[in-house]
Symmetry: C2
Subunit: 231 residues, 2 copies
Amino acid sequence: MRLVIARCSVDYVGRLKAHLPLATRLLVVKADGSVLVHSDGGSYKPLNWMSPPATMRVAAAVEAELEEGVAEQWTVQSAKTDDRLIVNVHQILHDSSHELGVDPGLVKDGVESDLQRLLAEQIETLGTGYSLIRREYYTAIGPVDILARDASGTTVAVELKRRGDIDGVEQLTRYLELLNRDPLLAPVRGIFAAQQIKPQARVLAADRGIDCVTLDYDAMRGVDDVESRLF
Amino acid sequence: MRLVIARCSVDYVGRLKAHLPLATRLLVVKADGSVLVHSDGGSYKPLNWMSPPATMRVAAAVEAELEEGVAEQWTVQSAKTDDRLIVNVHQILHDSSHELGVDPGLVKDGVESDLQRLLAEQIETLGTGYSLIRREYYTAIGPVDILARDASGTTVAVELKRRGDIDGVEQLTRYLELLNRDPLLAPVRGIFAAQQIKPQARVLAADRGIDCVTLDYDAMRGVDDVESRLF
DNA sequence: TCCTCGATTTCGTCG
DNA sequence: CGACGAAGTCGAGGA
């Protein structure tokens, strides 16, 4: 990994065009050829970048076509597409290279799959007498988060979100249309379950005959912890 | 901006929990208190991070609670939420600080709004005799990208995407349902316009009676350039 | 301020 | 390899 602090202007040409005027920035060149252009603020997204795999070519200032004040020009070319990042380096203020090795990678806990696992374990959160058929019920148009049966034995498709938006209701509607064509499952009811459900999503769900359930993840996790401690 | 190359382990606690085992990584501390943890690969997304505004507290190794081999512990606390990033620094291999100043920011060309402007100017791309009613036609459920009239005088709602996906067709369908309730506009046809349209989106659109149009942004921009040169 | 939508989204996973 | 859905998504623009 190479770290450069430089006064530079940057141009990106590819899926769109983007230009960065002359200023001092951090340039990160990674081992896989990817390049990040960061300013001293903003979030984790760089001002400009090139995704790997890519190769970098450095042209010295002697070449006549370089604009005024450019010490060297970096051309970062994507290996797969014709996307290109051009860095006009005017002045290098810092330049260092480092061996990092391969990273063991991130371990996450608390993403949607965890919420799904918890709801599957505590399926009666949806109502008394509910039983789990299966998680990740695969269909031709994508996986239904949870398939269950309610107290009366009716099949229930559950769409699970952290934030319940209109798109989620649309998604569940598509699944319900498909599932209701299967005579072994039909009729299938829908439940839209989320930690927070937007009013518009609630209205649309009601219009489609879909029930909404608000989930308390902390409480569900708490129950899970208590249950875990018993073993 | 402070750049540190260090052997470290990292833990994030907040909306979820995440853990990074001990390895050598790049740590970037920005002026607004945000911190990025990068490995020597992957694309622009850090392995772990803290969004601004945030504050960092450094605890020396003398404190008894620190685990084996930790030289110092960084606690990065979000100013707005209770999200927290903890970096256990075992060994610092590089450490430098730099003044970057404020960045003038990125200038983009070719995003959806540009495509929308071009299509509005060249509305006959959709067919002979088309005329523009207006861009960003606001409805209760969101703005319709372009509202136009075809050669026969029928109202046409256009949904514009760079990549035409199923979600875009759903979105346009919702708009059409709403617009068709307005007796001043009805009947309203739908056109799904994108640089690339996925086969499944095409099938769904056909099923809903929505026409699909593939746009050539380069060609449209070319026409725009030629027109611009005339002035 | 909240909400909605786009993004050079990136990233994982399954068919 | 394509397709679909999640993300600690982030960021911009209008209500």
